[in-house]
Protein backbone atom coordinates (compact mmCIF):
# COMPACT_ATOMS: atom_id res chain seq x y z
CA UNK A 1 0.00 0.00 0.00
CA UNK A 2 2.79 2.37 0.92
CA UNK A 3 4.39 1.84 -2.44
CA UNK A 4 1.18 2.43 -4.35
CA UNK A 5 0.60 5.91 -3.03
CA UNK A 6 3.67 7.55 -4.55
CA UNK A 7 3.03 5.88 -7.87
CA UNK A 8 -0.52 7.13 -7.84
CA UNK A 9 0.63 10.63 -7.03
CA UNK A 10 3.12 10.63 -9.87
CA UNK A 11 0.55 9.17 -12.24
CA UNK A 12 -1.91 11.83 -11.25
CA UNK A 13 0.61 14.54 -11.94
CA UNK A 14 1.42 13.02 -15.31
CA UNK A 15 -2.23 12.77 -16.27
CA UNK A 16 -2.77 16.40 -15.33
CA UNK A 17 0.19 17.55 -17.41
CA UNK A 18 -0.99 15.30 -20.17
CA UNK A 19 -4.43 16.87 -20.27
CA UNK A 20 -2.99 20.34 -20.40
CA UNK A 21 -0.61 19.31 -23.15
CA UNK A 22 -3.45 17.66 -25.06
CA UNK A 23 -5.49 20.84 -24.94
CA UNK A 24 -2.56 22.92 -26.07
CA UNK A 25 -1.39 20.64 -28.85
CA UNK A 26 -4.78 19.76 -30.22
CA UNK A 27 -6.17 23.28 -30.13
CA UNK A 28 -4.15 24.34 -33.16
CA UNK A 29 -6.23 22.01 -35.26
CA UNK A 30 -9.46 23.26 -33.73
CA UNK A 31 -8.56 26.86 -34.45
CA UNK A 32 -7.46 25.99 -37.99
CA UNK A 33 -10.69 24.20 -38.66
CA UNK A 34 -12.67 27.11 -37.31
CA UNK A 35 -10.68 29.44 -39.53
CA UNK A 36 -11.37 27.26 -42.56
CA UNK A 37 -15.06 27.24 -41.70
CA UNK A 38 -14.82 30.95 -40.94
CA UNK A 39 -16.37 30.64 -37.52
CA UNK A 40 -15.29 31.77 -34.08
CA UNK A 41 -14.80 29.35 -31.21
CA UNK A 42 -14.77 30.08 -27.52
CA UNK A 43 -12.11 28.63 -25.26
CA UNK A 44 -14.63 26.27 -23.67
CA UNK A 45 -15.55 24.93 -27.08
CA UNK A 46 -11.90 24.45 -27.86
CA UNK A 47 -11.35 22.47 -24.68
CA UNK A 48 -14.31 20.25 -25.40
CA UNK A 49 -13.14 19.71 -28.96
CA UNK A 50 -9.58 18.86 -28.00
CA UNK A 51 -10.83 16.12 -25.71
CA UNK A 52 -12.57 14.23 -28.46
CA UNK A 53 -10.76 14.68 -31.77
CA UNK A 54 -10.57 11.74 -34.08
CA UNK A 55 -6.92 12.27 -35.03
CA UNK A 56 -5.52 14.27 -32.16
CA UNK A 57 -1.88 15.26 -32.13
CA UNK A 58 -1.90 14.05 -28.56
CA UNK A 59 -4.91 11.95 -27.57
CA UNK A 60 -6.37 12.79 -24.20
CA UNK A 61 -5.70 10.18 -21.50
CA UNK A 62 -9.28 9.01 -21.41
CA UNK A 63 -9.26 8.48 -25.16
CA UNK A 64 -6.23 6.24 -24.81
CA UNK A 65 -7.80 4.48 -21.86
CA UNK A 66 -10.94 3.80 -23.83
CA UNK A 67 -8.90 2.64 -26.82
CA UNK A 68 -6.91 0.35 -24.59
CA UNK A 69 -9.98 -1.00 -22.85
CA UNK A 70 -11.72 -1.67 -26.15
CA UNK A 71 -8.63 -3.31 -27.51
CA UNK A 72 -8.16 -5.51 -24.48
CA UNK A 73 -11.68 -6.34 -23.44
CA UNK A 74 -13.92 -4.95 -26.17
CA UNK A 75 -13.93 -8.23 -28.07
CA UNK A 76 -13.05 -11.87 -27.92
CA UNK A 77 -9.39 -12.49 -27.19
CA UNK A 78 -9.05 -14.41 -30.42
CA UNK A 79 -10.34 -11.56 -32.54
CA UNK A 80 -7.86 -9.82 -34.81
CA UNK A 81 -8.96 -6.55 -33.32
CA UNK A 82 -8.05 -7.68 -29.82
CA UNK A 83 -4.88 -6.33 -28.31
CA UNK A 84 -4.69 -9.50 -26.25
CA UNK A 85 -4.40 -11.51 -29.45
CA UNK A 86 -1.68 -9.25 -30.86
CA UNK A 87 0.02 -9.00 -27.48
CA UNK A 88 0.22 -12.77 -27.28
CA UNK A 89 1.83 -12.99 -30.72
CA UNK A 90 4.42 -10.41 -29.72
CA UNK A 91 4.94 -12.00 -26.33
CA UNK A 92 5.76 -15.39 -27.74
CA UNK A 93 8.39 -13.93 -30.07
CA UNK A 94 9.72 -11.84 -27.19
CA UNK A 95 10.12 -14.78 -24.88
CA UNK A 96 11.83 -16.98 -27.43
CA UNK A 97 14.11 -14.09 -28.40
CA UNK A 98 14.83 -13.32 -24.76
CA UNK A 99 15.78 -16.91 -24.08
CA UNK A 100 18.09 -17.05 -27.08
CA UNK A 101 19.52 -13.62 -26.38
CA UNK A 102 20.26 -14.06 -22.69
CA UNK A 103 21.64 -17.54 -23.28
CA UNK A 104 23.97 -16.20 -25.93
CA UNK A 105 24.83 -13.17 -23.83
CA UNK A 106 25.80 -15.24 -20.81
CA UNK A 107 27.86 -17.60 -22.94
CA UNK A 108 29.68 -14.72 -24.57
CA UNK A 109 30.32 -13.06 -21.21
CA UNK A 110 31.71 -16.28 -19.79
CA UNK A 111 33.93 -16.60 -22.84
CA UNK A 112 35.10 -13.02 -22.58
CA UNK A 113 35.96 -13.34 -18.91
CA UNK A 114 37.78 -16.63 -19.30
CA UNK A 115 39.50 -16.26 -22.62
CA UNK A 116 41.85 -13.40 -23.34
CA UNK A 117 41.52 -13.78 -27.07
CA UNK A 118 37.78 -13.44 -26.79
CA UNK A 119 38.09 -10.57 -24.36
CA UNK A 120 40.23 -8.63 -26.78
CA UNK A 121 38.44 -9.45 -29.98
CA UNK A 122 34.76 -10.04 -29.26
CA UNK A 123 33.82 -7.08 -27.11
CA UNK A 124 34.56 -4.34 -29.65
CA UNK A 125 32.54 -6.20 -32.25
CA UNK A 126 29.67 -6.86 -29.92
CA UNK A 127 29.57 -3.11 -29.37
CA UNK A 128 29.78 -2.43 -33.08
CA UNK A 129 26.95 -4.86 -33.69
CA UNK A 130 24.68 -2.77 -31.52
CA UNK A 131 25.31 0.38 -33.49
CA UNK A 132 23.85 -1.23 -36.59
CA UNK A 133 20.36 0.17 -37.01
CA UNK A 134 18.28 -2.93 -36.52
CA UNK A 135 15.33 -1.46 -38.36
CA UNK A 136 17.52 -1.36 -41.46
CA UNK A 137 18.68 -4.92 -41.39
CA UNK A 138 15.56 -6.49 -39.94
CA UNK A 139 13.90 -6.69 -43.38
CA UNK A 140 17.03 -8.28 -44.81
CA UNK A 141 17.17 -10.78 -41.99
CA UNK A 142 13.55 -11.67 -42.64
CA UNK A 143 14.17 -11.98 -46.37
CA UNK A 144 17.30 -14.05 -45.96
CA UNK A 145 15.74 -16.34 -43.38
CA UNK A 146 12.62 -16.68 -45.50
CA UNK A 147 14.72 -17.71 -48.48
CA UNK A 148 16.17 -20.58 -46.48
CA UNK A 149 12.71 -21.54 -45.34
CA UNK A 150 12.64 -20.06 -41.85
CA UNK A 151 9.46 -18.07 -41.33
CA UNK A 152 6.96 -17.27 -38.63
CA UNK A 153 8.07 -16.83 -35.06
CA UNK A 154 11.75 -17.53 -35.43
CA UNK A 155 12.89 -14.57 -37.57
CA UNK A 156 11.25 -12.20 -35.11
CA UNK A 157 12.86 -14.02 -32.23
CA UNK A 158 16.24 -13.73 -33.93
CA UNK A 159 15.91 -9.97 -34.17
CA UNK A 160 14.71 -9.78 -30.62
CA UNK A 161 17.66 -11.89 -29.49
CA UNK A 162 20.00 -9.62 -31.41
CA UNK A 163 18.85 -6.66 -29.35
CA UNK A 164 18.72 -8.46 -26.03
CA UNK A 165 22.08 -10.21 -25.88
CA UNK A 166 24.09 -7.03 -25.55
CA UNK A 167 22.92 -5.73 -22.17
CA UNK A 168 23.48 -9.21 -20.79
CA UNK A 169 27.02 -9.36 -22.14
CA UNK A 170 27.94 -5.97 -20.71
CA UNK A 171 26.34 -6.61 -17.33
CA UNK A 172 27.62 -10.14 -16.98
CA UNK A 173 31.16 -9.25 -17.92
CA UNK A 174 31.11 -6.59 -15.25
CA UNK A 175 29.47 -8.93 -12.78
CA UNK A 176 31.78 -11.85 -13.43
CA UNK A 177 34.68 -9.49 -12.91
CA UNK A 178 33.31 -7.93 -9.75
CA UNK A 179 34.95 -10.24 -7.17
CA UNK A 180 37.78 -8.43 -5.47
CA UNK A 181 41.34 -9.57 -5.13
CA UNK A 182 40.96 -11.25 -1.80
CA UNK A 183 37.95 -13.25 -2.90
CA UNK A 184 39.87 -14.50 -5.92
CA UNK A 185 43.04 -15.14 -3.96
CA UNK A 186 41.15 -17.27 -1.51
CA UNK A 187 40.17 -19.64 -4.26
CA UNK A 188 43.69 -19.59 -5.61
CA UNK A 189 44.95 -20.91 -2.30
CA UNK A 190 42.53 -23.81 -2.70
CA UNK A 191 43.87 -24.26 -6.20
CA UNK A 192 40.26 -24.17 -7.29
CA UNK A 193 39.69 -24.88 -10.96
CA UNK A 194 38.34 -22.13 -13.20
CA UNK A 195 35.18 -24.12 -13.22
CA UNK A 196 34.88 -24.00 -9.44
CA UNK A 197 35.85 -20.33 -9.39
CA UNK A 198 33.09 -19.71 -11.85
CA UNK A 199 30.38 -21.59 -10.00
CA UNK A 200 31.33 -20.67 -6.49
CA UNK A 201 32.56 -17.11 -6.86
CA UNK A 202 32.08 -15.38 -10.17
CA UNK A 203 28.56 -16.51 -10.86
CA UNK A 204 27.08 -15.74 -7.44
CA UNK A 205 28.92 -12.43 -7.35
CA UNK A 206 27.47 -11.53 -10.73
CA UNK A 207 23.85 -12.15 -9.79
CA UNK A 208 22.88 -8.56 -8.98
CA UNK A 209 24.43 -7.45 -12.25
CA UNK A 210 22.71 -10.23 -14.13
CA UNK A 211 19.28 -9.30 -12.90
CA UNK A 212 19.80 -5.64 -13.64
CA UNK A 213 20.80 -6.62 -17.17
CA UNK A 214 17.92 -9.03 -17.57
CA UNK A 215 15.46 -6.23 -16.97
CA UNK A 216 17.02 -4.07 -19.65
CA UNK A 217 17.32 -7.02 -21.95
CA UNK A 218 13.71 -8.02 -21.50
CA UNK A 219 12.59 -4.57 -22.60
CA UNK A 220 15.02 -4.77 -25.51
CA UNK A 221 13.61 -8.15 -26.50
CA UNK A 222 10.16 -6.70 -26.73
CA UNK A 223 11.37 -3.84 -28.88
CA UNK A 224 13.14 -6.38 -31.04
CA UNK A 225 10.02 -8.45 -31.48
CA UNK A 226 8.05 -5.36 -32.42
CA UNK A 227 10.70 -4.22 -34.87
CA UNK A 228 10.72 -7.71 -36.30
CA UNK A 229 7.00 -7.48 -36.88
CA UNK A 230 7.19 -4.38 -39.03
CA UNK A 231 8.86 -5.99 -42.03
CA UNK A 232 7.21 -9.32 -41.45
CA UNK A 233 4.47 -7.92 -43.61
CA UNK A 234 2.64 -5.93 -40.97
CA UNK A 235 0.49 -8.92 -40.29
CA UNK A 236 -0.09 -9.44 -36.62
CA UNK A 237 1.42 -8.47 -33.32
CA UNK A 238 1.63 -5.18 -31.49
CA UNK A 239 4.19 -3.92 -34.01
CA UNK A 240 1.72 -4.40 -36.80
CA UNK A 241 -0.91 -2.55 -34.80
CA UNK A 242 1.46 0.33 -34.26
CA UNK A 243 2.31 0.41 -37.90
CA UNK A 244 -1.17 0.25 -39.29
CA UNK A 245 -2.30 2.81 -36.76
CA UNK A 246 0.50 5.01 -37.87
CA UNK A 247 -0.25 4.38 -41.52
CA UNK A 248 -3.83 5.52 -41.14
CA UNK A 249 -3.06 8.31 -38.73
CA UNK A 250 -5.06 6.57 -36.01
CA UNK A 251 -3.28 8.28 -33.15
CA UNK A 252 -5.47 6.67 -30.56
CA UNK A 253 -4.78 3.22 -31.93
CA UNK A 254 -1.05 3.92 -31.86
CA UNK A 255 -1.18 5.04 -28.27
CA UNK A 256 -3.29 2.09 -27.24
CA UNK A 257 -0.87 -0.33 -28.89
CA UNK A 258 2.01 1.57 -27.37
CA UNK A 259 0.56 1.27 -23.91
CA UNK A 260 -0.26 -2.36 -24.42
CA UNK A 261 3.39 -2.93 -25.33
CA UNK A 262 4.59 -0.97 -22.33
CA UNK A 263 2.25 -2.83 -20.01
CA UNK A 264 3.54 -6.07 -21.39
CA UNK A 265 7.14 -4.98 -20.90
CA UNK A 266 6.47 -3.66 -17.43
CA UNK A 267 4.77 -6.92 -16.52
CA UNK A 268 7.74 -8.93 -17.76
CA UNK A 269 10.17 -6.69 -15.90
CA UNK A 270 8.13 -7.04 -12.74
CA UNK A 271 8.29 -10.81 -13.07
CA UNK A 272 12.06 -10.64 -13.36
CA UNK A 273 12.16 -8.28 -10.41
CA UNK A 274 10.19 -10.76 -8.33
CA UNK A 275 12.50 -13.59 -9.28
CA UNK A 276 15.43 -11.35 -8.46
CA UNK A 277 14.08 -10.58 -5.04
CA UNK A 278 13.54 -14.20 -4.17
CA UNK A 279 16.89 -15.28 -5.59
CA UNK A 280 18.89 -12.55 -3.93
CA UNK A 281 17.13 -13.02 -0.64
CA UNK A 282 17.91 -16.70 -0.68
CA UNK A 283 21.49 -15.78 -1.41
CA UNK A 284 21.53 -13.42 1.55
CA UNK A 285 22.24 -10.46 -0.69
CA UNK A 286 19.29 -8.33 0.34
CA UNK A 287 19.43 -7.03 3.84
Amino acid sequence: MRSVLPILAVLLAIVAVWYIAAIRMNSTWTYDQAARAETEVSFAEVVVDTMAQERPVLPAPHQVAVGLWEGLFGQKFTSKRSLVYHGWITLSATLVGFAIGTGLGILLAVGIVHNRAMDLSVMPWAIASQTIPILAIAPMVIVVLASVGVTGLLPKAVISAYLSFFPVVVGMVKGLRSPDRMQLDLLKTYNASRWAAFWKLRLPASMPYLFASLKVSMAASLVGAIVGELPAGATSGLGARLLSGSYYGQTIQIWAALFAAAILAAGLVIVIGAIEKVALRRMGMVR
Binding site: S3, L5, P6, I7, L8, V10, L11, I14, M25, V57, L58, N115, A117, D119, L120, S121, V122, P124, W125, I127, A128, Q130, T131, I132, P133, I134, L135, A136, I137, P139, M140, V143, S147, F166, P167, V170, K174, R177, S178, R181, V216, A219, L222, V223, I226, V227, L230, G239, L242, S246, I254, A257, L258, F259, A261, A262, I263, L264, A265, A266
Partner: protein
Amino acid sequence: MTWLWGAILFWLGAWGLNAWAANQPFARTRAGKLAIPALFGVTLLVLWEGIVRGLDVPGVILPAPSVIWGTITTSVPTLWQDFVQTILKGGLSGYVIGCGAAIATAIAIDRSPFLQKGLLPVGNFVAALPIVGIAPILVMWFGFDWQSKAAVVVVMVFFPVLVNTVAGLAATDRMQRDLMATYSASYWQTLMKLRLPAAMPFIFNGLKIATTLALIGAIVAEFFGSPIKGMGFRISTAVGQLALDMVWAEIAVAALAGSAFYGLVALIEKGVTFWHPSQRARS
Protein backbone atom coordinates in the same frame (compact mmCIF):
# COMPACT_ATOMS: atom_id res chain seq x y z
CA MET B 1 33.83 -22.73 -53.90
CA THR B 2 37.57 -22.12 -53.64
CA TRP B 3 36.66 -18.72 -52.26
CA LEU B 4 34.51 -20.26 -49.60
CA TRP B 5 37.05 -22.84 -48.51
CA GLY B 6 39.84 -20.33 -48.70
CA ALA B 7 37.93 -17.99 -46.44
CA ILE B 8 37.15 -20.72 -43.94
CA LEU B 9 40.80 -21.79 -43.88
CA PHE B 10 41.87 -18.19 -43.40
CA TRP B 11 39.39 -17.86 -40.58
CA LEU B 12 40.70 -20.92 -38.78
CA GLY B 13 44.27 -19.77 -39.24
CA ALA B 14 43.56 -16.26 -38.04
CA TRP B 15 41.64 -17.51 -35.03
CA GLY B 16 44.58 -19.67 -34.07
CA LEU B 17 46.94 -16.75 -34.53
CA ASN B 18 44.69 -14.55 -32.44
CA ALA B 19 44.36 -17.06 -29.64
CA TRP B 20 48.13 -17.35 -29.59
CA ALA B 21 48.77 -13.62 -29.81
CA ALA B 22 46.30 -12.83 -27.04
CA ASN B 23 48.43 -14.72 -24.57
CA GLN B 24 51.65 -13.04 -25.58
CA PRO B 25 53.06 -10.04 -23.73
CA PHE B 26 52.34 -8.15 -26.95
CA ALA B 27 48.63 -8.37 -26.16
CA ARG B 28 49.13 -6.12 -23.17
CA THR B 29 50.59 -3.30 -25.18
CA ARG B 30 48.48 -0.58 -26.68
CA ALA B 31 49.20 -1.79 -30.19
CA GLY B 32 48.18 -5.30 -29.21
CA LYS B 33 44.87 -4.11 -27.85
CA LEU B 34 44.11 -2.62 -31.25
CA ALA B 35 45.68 -5.27 -33.44
CA ILE B 36 43.89 -8.26 -31.99
CA PRO B 37 40.33 -7.01 -32.41
CA ALA B 38 41.35 -5.64 -35.80
CA LEU B 39 42.59 -9.05 -36.88
CA PHE B 40 39.33 -10.53 -35.66
CA GLY B 41 37.45 -7.98 -37.73
CA VAL B 42 39.52 -8.70 -40.81
CA THR B 43 38.79 -12.37 -40.33
CA LEU B 44 35.07 -11.69 -40.27
CA LEU B 45 35.33 -9.60 -43.42
CA VAL B 46 37.33 -12.25 -45.27
CA LEU B 47 34.82 -14.87 -44.24
CA TRP B 48 32.01 -12.64 -45.46
CA GLU B 49 33.70 -11.99 -48.78
CA GLY B 50 34.37 -15.68 -49.19
CA ILE B 51 30.80 -16.67 -48.46
CA VAL B 52 29.35 -14.06 -50.80
CA ARG B 53 31.68 -15.03 -53.62
CA GLY B 54 31.76 -18.72 -52.92
CA LEU B 55 27.99 -19.12 -52.72
CA ASP B 56 27.27 -16.50 -55.39
CA VAL B 57 24.99 -14.51 -53.13
CA PRO B 58 23.27 -11.86 -55.27
CA GLY B 59 24.42 -8.30 -54.60
CA VAL B 60 20.87 -7.21 -53.92
CA ILE B 61 20.77 -9.56 -50.94
CA LEU B 62 24.22 -9.09 -49.48
CA PRO B 63 27.04 -7.23 -51.21
CA ALA B 64 30.64 -8.28 -50.65
CA PRO B 65 32.85 -6.14 -48.39
CA SER B 66 35.01 -5.19 -51.35
CA VAL B 67 31.98 -3.76 -53.13
CA ILE B 68 30.91 -1.90 -50.01
CA TRP B 69 34.39 -0.47 -49.64
CA GLY B 70 34.20 0.73 -53.23
CA THR B 71 30.93 2.54 -52.46
CA ILE B 72 32.38 4.09 -49.32
CA THR B 73 35.33 5.54 -51.17
CA THR B 74 33.21 6.98 -53.94
CA SER B 75 30.48 8.48 -51.74
CA VAL B 76 32.44 10.20 -49.02
CA PRO B 77 30.59 13.55 -49.36
CA THR B 78 27.18 11.88 -49.06
CA LEU B 79 28.30 9.78 -46.11
CA TRP B 80 29.78 12.80 -44.40
CA GLN B 81 26.64 14.85 -44.91
CA ASP B 82 24.52 12.04 -43.48
CA PHE B 83 26.92 11.59 -40.58
CA VAL B 84 26.69 15.25 -39.63
CA GLN B 85 22.92 15.28 -39.92
CA THR B 86 22.22 12.11 -37.98
CA ILE B 87 25.03 11.57 -35.56
CA LEU B 88 26.38 14.99 -34.80
CA LYS B 89 23.11 16.91 -34.88
CA GLY B 90 20.51 14.31 -33.92
CA GLY B 91 22.45 11.74 -31.90
CA LEU B 92 24.96 13.78 -30.00
CA SER B 93 22.66 16.60 -28.96
CA GLY B 94 20.04 14.10 -27.85
CA TYR B 95 22.66 12.13 -25.94
CA VAL B 96 23.92 15.14 -24.07
CA ILE B 97 20.46 16.43 -23.24
CA GLY B 98 19.10 12.99 -22.35
CA CYS B 99 21.99 11.90 -20.16
CA GLY B 100 22.23 15.29 -18.51
CA ALA B 101 18.52 15.31 -17.76
CA ALA B 102 18.64 11.74 -16.45
CA ILE B 103 21.48 12.42 -14.05
CA ALA B 104 19.85 15.64 -12.92
CA THR B 105 16.54 13.84 -12.39
CA ALA B 106 18.20 11.04 -10.48
CA ILE B 107 19.75 13.57 -8.16
CA ALA B 108 16.51 15.50 -7.91
CA ILE B 109 14.42 12.50 -6.93
CA ASP B 110 17.19 11.09 -4.77
CA ARG B 111 16.19 13.25 -1.82
CA SER B 112 12.63 12.10 -1.93
CA PRO B 113 11.97 8.41 -1.44
CA PHE B 114 8.40 9.29 -2.26
CA LEU B 115 9.29 10.56 -5.70
CA GLN B 116 11.67 7.66 -6.23
CA LYS B 117 9.04 5.12 -5.38
CA GLY B 118 6.62 6.89 -7.64
CA LEU B 119 8.81 7.87 -10.53
CA LEU B 120 10.93 4.79 -10.97
CA PRO B 121 8.12 2.36 -11.76
CA VAL B 122 6.46 4.94 -13.98
CA GLY B 123 9.81 5.67 -15.62
CA ASN B 124 10.30 1.97 -16.01
CA PHE B 125 7.01 1.85 -17.80
CA VAL B 126 7.82 4.77 -20.06
CA ALA B 127 11.15 3.20 -20.93
CA ALA B 128 9.34 0.12 -22.05
CA LEU B 129 7.49 2.09 -24.74
CA PRO B 130 9.07 0.85 -27.96
CA ILE B 131 10.87 3.50 -29.99
CA VAL B 132 9.21 2.38 -33.16
CA GLY B 133 5.99 3.60 -31.60
CA ILE B 134 7.37 6.78 -30.12
CA ALA B 135 9.36 7.92 -33.11
CA PRO B 136 6.39 8.73 -35.38
CA ILE B 137 4.76 10.66 -32.57
CA LEU B 138 7.87 12.67 -31.86
CA VAL B 139 8.33 13.35 -35.55
CA MET B 140 4.79 14.66 -35.58
CA TRP B 141 5.56 16.87 -32.59
CA PHE B 142 9.04 18.12 -33.33
CA GLY B 143 9.08 18.25 -37.09
CA PHE B 144 11.12 16.48 -39.70
CA ASP B 145 14.54 17.83 -39.03
CA TRP B 146 17.11 16.67 -36.49
CA GLN B 147 15.23 18.07 -33.52
CA SER B 148 12.76 15.20 -33.57
CA LYS B 149 15.65 12.73 -33.83
CA ALA B 150 17.28 14.33 -30.83
CA ALA B 151 13.97 14.01 -28.99
CA VAL B 152 13.83 10.29 -29.77
CA VAL B 153 17.38 9.89 -28.50
CA VAL B 154 16.52 11.79 -25.33
CA VAL B 155 13.63 9.45 -24.65
CA MET B 156 15.76 6.40 -25.36
CA VAL B 157 18.80 7.23 -23.27
CA PHE B 158 16.98 8.86 -20.40
CA PHE B 159 15.84 5.81 -18.54
CA PRO B 160 18.90 3.56 -18.64
CA VAL B 161 21.00 6.42 -17.36
CA LEU B 162 18.41 7.31 -14.72
CA VAL B 163 18.16 3.78 -13.40
CA ASN B 164 21.91 3.34 -13.30
CA THR B 165 22.42 6.65 -11.59
CA VAL B 166 19.81 5.91 -8.96
CA ALA B 167 21.36 2.49 -8.36
CA GLY B 168 24.78 4.09 -8.23
CA LEU B 169 23.72 6.71 -5.73
CA ALA B 170 22.59 3.87 -3.48
CA ALA B 171 25.79 1.91 -3.94
CA THR B 172 27.75 3.17 -1.00
CA ASP B 173 28.43 0.79 1.84
CA ARG B 174 27.24 1.34 5.34
CA MET B 175 30.54 2.38 6.80
CA GLN B 176 31.14 4.94 4.09
CA ARG B 177 27.80 6.53 4.77
CA ASP B 178 28.22 6.33 8.52
CA LEU B 179 31.48 8.19 8.20
CA MET B 180 29.70 11.06 6.53
CA ALA B 181 27.03 10.90 9.19
CA THR B 182 29.58 11.34 11.96
CA TYR B 183 30.79 14.49 10.22
CA SER B 184 27.18 15.57 10.04
CA ALA B 185 27.92 16.33 6.42
CA SER B 186 25.14 18.11 4.58
CA TYR B 187 23.18 16.36 1.90
CA TRP B 188 25.12 18.07 -0.87
CA GLN B 189 28.45 17.36 0.71
CA THR B 190 27.60 13.69 1.02
CA LEU B 191 26.45 13.73 -2.55
CA MET B 192 29.49 15.41 -3.99
CA LYS B 193 32.13 13.72 -1.91
CA LEU B 194 30.76 10.25 -1.44
CA ARG B 195 27.75 9.27 -3.43
CA LEU B 196 28.56 10.70 -6.83
CA PRO B 197 32.10 9.33 -6.87
CA ALA B 198 30.83 5.96 -5.67
CA ALA B 199 28.09 6.09 -8.31
CA MET B 200 30.47 6.74 -11.18
CA PRO B 201 30.98 3.08 -12.19
CA PHE B 202 27.21 2.71 -12.42
CA ILE B 203 26.65 6.01 -14.20
CA PHE B 204 29.24 5.09 -16.78
CA ASN B 205 27.56 1.76 -17.25
CA GLY B 206 24.45 3.70 -18.21
CA LEU B 207 26.37 6.17 -20.34
CA LYS B 208 27.98 3.34 -22.29
CA ILE B 209 24.69 1.60 -23.00
CA ALA B 210 23.29 4.99 -23.97
CA THR B 211 25.91 5.50 -26.69
CA THR B 212 24.64 2.65 -28.79
CA LEU B 213 21.03 3.56 -28.02
CA ALA B 214 21.62 7.14 -29.13
CA LEU B 215 22.91 5.98 -32.46
CA ILE B 216 20.13 3.52 -33.10
CA GLY B 217 17.54 6.04 -31.98
CA ALA B 218 18.75 8.79 -34.26
CA ILE B 219 18.92 6.50 -37.26
CA VAL B 220 15.65 4.71 -36.68
CA ALA B 221 13.75 7.95 -36.11
CA GLU B 222 14.67 9.00 -39.63
CA PHE B 223 12.67 6.09 -40.98
CA PHE B 224 9.55 7.91 -39.88
CA GLY B 225 10.07 11.11 -41.79
CA SER B 226 13.13 13.22 -42.41
CA PRO B 227 14.66 15.78 -44.71
CA ILE B 228 16.37 14.10 -47.63
CA LYS B 229 19.64 13.56 -45.89
CA GLY B 230 20.71 11.53 -42.91
CA MET B 231 21.84 7.98 -42.39
CA GLY B 232 18.40 6.57 -41.67
CA PHE B 233 16.95 8.34 -44.68
CA ARG B 234 19.73 7.05 -46.90
CA ILE B 235 19.39 3.51 -45.65
CA SER B 236 15.64 3.35 -46.10
CA THR B 237 15.66 4.85 -49.58
CA ALA B 238 18.65 2.82 -50.65
CA VAL B 239 16.90 -0.39 -49.68
CA GLY B 240 14.00 0.65 -51.89
CA GLN B 241 16.44 1.28 -54.72
CA LEU B 242 18.17 -2.04 -54.08
CA ALA B 243 21.38 -0.09 -53.55
CA LEU B 244 22.48 -2.48 -50.83
CA ASP B 245 26.09 -1.41 -51.15
CA MET B 246 25.02 2.05 -50.02
CA VAL B 247 23.01 0.57 -47.17
CA TRP B 248 26.04 -1.29 -45.91
CA ALA B 249 28.29 1.69 -46.43
CA GLU B 250 26.03 3.64 -44.08
CA ILE B 251 25.91 0.76 -41.65
CA ALA B 252 29.69 0.63 -41.69
CA VAL B 253 29.85 4.33 -40.88
CA ALA B 254 27.31 3.84 -38.10
CA ALA B 255 29.24 0.93 -36.62
CA LEU B 256 32.50 2.81 -36.81
CA ALA B 257 31.06 5.97 -35.29
CA GLY B 258 29.28 3.95 -32.62
CA SER B 259 32.40 2.04 -31.65
CA ALA B 260 34.41 5.23 -31.53
CA PHE B 261 31.76 6.90 -29.38
CA TYR B 262 31.61 3.93 -27.06
CA GLY B 263 35.39 3.76 -26.92
CA LEU B 264 35.57 7.43 -26.00
CA VAL B 265 33.10 7.03 -23.15
CA ALA B 266 34.93 3.91 -21.98
CA LEU B 267 38.19 5.84 -22.02
CA ILE B 268 36.71 8.61 -19.89
CA GLU B 269 35.32 5.95 -17.59
CA LYS B 270 38.74 4.47 -17.18
CA GLY B 271 40.07 7.83 -16.13
CA VAL B 272 37.25 8.59 -13.72
CA THR B 273 36.78 5.19 -12.11
CA PHE B 274 40.41 4.10 -12.05
CA TRP B 275 39.90 3.01 -8.46
CA HIS B 276 37.19 0.45 -9.12
CA PRO B 277 38.28 -3.21 -8.91
CA SER B 278 36.97 -3.96 -12.39
CA GLN B 279 39.32 -1.31 -13.79
CA ARG B 280 42.25 -2.14 -11.56
CA ALA B 281 42.19 -5.84 -12.28
CA ARG B 282 43.16 -5.38 -15.89
CA SER B 283 45.62 -2.52 -15.68
